[in-house]
């Protein structure tokens, strides 16, 4: 079997909320293999977003270890974590988070520009991805000139254009209507099935969960249910 993309062992995280400790994660063990489409779900405060952020290198665990694509986060500097996010991970945020002063094409090119991909190559790749996602006619529009669904598709295009090892999506459907959500999920499904892209989403949305191939439910900072733990 191929090397896992994500290996979390004994991950704990405690926040201080008005001097009261909140245990967001209590020793989570979690492994994701290449090609999986994992849905992290659970009620608010269950720790799903915290786990996603820790896997994404945006937050650090208090204890335990996180290894993504064979890189152990332990001891990595802030700069090294940023480098890792740039080259190995793709992010889709709840609020799209596109850069408003850049066009759709430039937004998709943004990460590749940071990576130092030559102009002609990144433009070709960005146009290609946008066209595949049905945005070929809108590449020169800025986010403010697009609908929420279109913006979220641009965000997905930005996340996948540089071919990341792992795509992380935090509540990707939160701001979308059901039809647009379905379109987005079909897109993620295609990426997962056709391209073998590993995807982890954190969501409340049953529709998102239904598209995932593996359900992981968290409650009170621990994994309550994991499809992978079920007997085959």
């Amino acid at each position: 079997m191929s090397q896992p993309v994500v290996v979390c062992k004994g991950v704990t995280k405690t926040y201080q909320k008005e001097a009261v400790p909140v245990h967001a994660l209590r020793g989570v063990d979690f492994v994701v293999h290449p090609g999986e489409f994992v849905s992290l779900s659970g009620p608010s405060g269950s720790g799903k977003s915290t786990l996603l952020n820790i896997i994404g290198g945006l937050d650090r665990p208090d204890s335990g270890s996180v290894v993504v694509d064979e890189v152990d986060y332990g001891g990595l500097s802030e700069s090294a974590l940023a480098e890792l996010r740039l080259h190995k991970l793709g992010f889709v945020f709840q609020a799209y988070n596109l850069i408003p002063v850049l066009s759709a094409l430039e937004n998709v090119e943004f990460i590749m520009q940071l990576q130092g991909v030559p102009a002609a190559e990144r433009q070709g790749r960005a146009e290609d991805v946008l066209t595949k996602l049905g945005l070929g006619e809108m590449i020169h529009r800025r986010p403010g000139e697009m609908s929420g669904g279109q913006q979220q598709r641009v965000a997905v295009a930005r996340a996948i254009a540089s071919d990341p090892v792992l795509l992380l999506a935090d509540e990707p459907s939160a701001n979308l209507d059901s039809r647009t959500t379905e379109e987005l999920l079909e897109l993620l499904k295609r990426l997962n099935q056709d391209n073998g892209m590993t995807i982890i989403t954190a969501t409340h949305d049953p529709m998102v969960m239904s598209y995932a191939t593996r359900q992981v439910k968290l409650r009170d900072g621990a994994i309550e249910h994991d499809d992978a733990a079920l007997p085959a």
């Binding site: 480098e83 945020f93 940071l114």
Partner: protein
């Protein structure tokens, strides 16, 4: 860098009104600094010209002891073959003189003066070059007439063509007394010089004093920049004489000259310093309202230092545009006043500061570059605090904001 430049320009265009006002403020401040610099440089160069032209030159040679006792006893003889030890391309001219105290008497009045024996042809290096002459000027070194200031002529209640008596001390320590016909009078800006100097032919004065010596050799250069090297080389070749430059001989003018230099920098700091607070404020507001966006960029993998550079580039773009507009505006102001500002109405007061009644501005490329370069440095400095503040926010906190 192309990406950062693109982001910076577009971010600046995001708030056209706010950034337009800031741009205007920078341009006005830079134009104001540049325009005031042209006036200060004009004043400074006028001061320099006055100090150097005031029979001082850039460098001057005296016999030791002359400055304490300015008489013909403290004089020196120059060879016929003498020329100052200065490269010919920087030597504008030189003039030997006998300059001693004397008393001048008309039929009605008596005054103490500086009696100056000159070679008229060599005095193109002094204020006499620009003086307005009434009557005639001296024609040769053996001219036995006198030329005196218009104001002195008025005080002596005499006139051109009339005779005067001059008493001074000869090389032997005995007084010499002689009558002179007034060839003409000179009129220069300010009455100080007109009351002080009475000119007579050098050879004639030497004959009267029974000496071949001179009391000074004044050397004028084509550029102030060569003053120090010229002084040093002349001091080396005339080791038994005192060689001094105008800054030593006219310390008050030298202080005013340095003061004007200081004023240029103080004025720049006041104008641009005040503006920098505005720039810091505006940039801080601009970046803090984009904290989520910048946090997202960092979440996607942009390094902290790249965010800092982006804010700095944004500030630099703004400052560069402001400096460009300000320099053009400053040049327009300069063009409008390039003929000079007439200060005649305040001529009595400004004479104390050594300012001519027509203040002609001078625009130096080096001043424009200094203002532009310093402004860019201030632009960078102004952006560091907002940049530092924004990168203190963790990407996750920024995304949640």
């Amino acid at each position: 860098m192309k990406l950062l430049l693109q982001l910076s320009i577009r971010n600046l265009l995001r708030h056209k009104r706010r950034n337009g006002m800031l741009l205007l403020a920078i341009a006005v401040a830079v134009a104001g600094v540049n325009a005031s610099n042209t006036l200060l440089r004009g004043y400074q160069l006028d001061l320099l010209d006055t100090a150097v032209s005031n029979l001082t030159g850039h460098v001057k040679v005296h016999a030791p002891g002359y400055r304490d006792d300015p008489t013909i006893m403290n004089s020196f003889v120059i060879e016929d073959s003498f020329t100052p030890d200065v490269p010919s391309d920087v030597l504008l001219g030189w003039a030997p003189r006998v300059r001693i105290p004397g008393v001048i008497m008309s039929e009605r009045e008596t005054r103490g003066v500086q009696l100056v024996g000159i070679e008229p042809g060599a005095e193109g290096i002094s204020f006499l070059r620009d003086a307005v002459i009434d009557g005639e000027f001296l024609t040769a070194a053996d001219d036995n007439r006198v030329v005196l200031g218009k104001e002195l002529l008025r005080q002596l209640e005499s006139d051109i063509g009339r005779r005067l008596v001059i008493i001074t001390q000869g090389a032997d320590g005995l007084n010499r007394e002689r009558g002179y016909r007034i060839a003409g009078s000179y009129d220069v800006q300010g009455t100080g010089l007109e009351k002080l100097f009475v000119f007579v032919g050098l050879e004639h004065l030497q004959a009267l004093l029974e000496t071949d010596a001179v009391t000074e050799v004044s050397v004028r250069l084509t550029t102030e920049n060569y003053r120090e090297p010229a002084k040093l080389s002349m001091a080396a070749s005339l080791s038994d004489l005192e060689v001094m430059d105008w800054q030593e001989l006219e310390p008050q003018a030298a202080e005013m000259f340095l003061f004007a230099d200081g004023v240029i920098y103080v004025w720049f700091l006041l104008m641009m310093g005040a503006l920098t607070f505005g720039l810091v404020n505006s940039l801080a507001a601009a970046v803090m309202e984009r904290v989520k966006e910048l946090g997202m960029m960092r979440a996607l993998g942009m390094q902290k230092r790249t965010v800092v550079v982006q804010v700095v580039v944004e500030s630099c773009v703004m400052m560069a545009l402001g400096v460009l507009a300000g320099t053009l505006l400053g040049a327009l102001i300069y063009a409008a006043i390039s003929d000079g500002i007439d200060l005649t109405a305040w001529s009595d007061g400004i004479e104390l500061f050594g300012v001519a009644s027509l203040l002609v501005p001078v625009m130096l490329p080096s001043d424009l570059l200094t203002v532009a370069f310093s402004s860019m440095l201030l632009g960078i400095a102004a952006s560091l605090y907002p940049a530092w503040r924004v990168v203190q926010v963790q990407p996750l906190d920024a995304l949640r904001s």
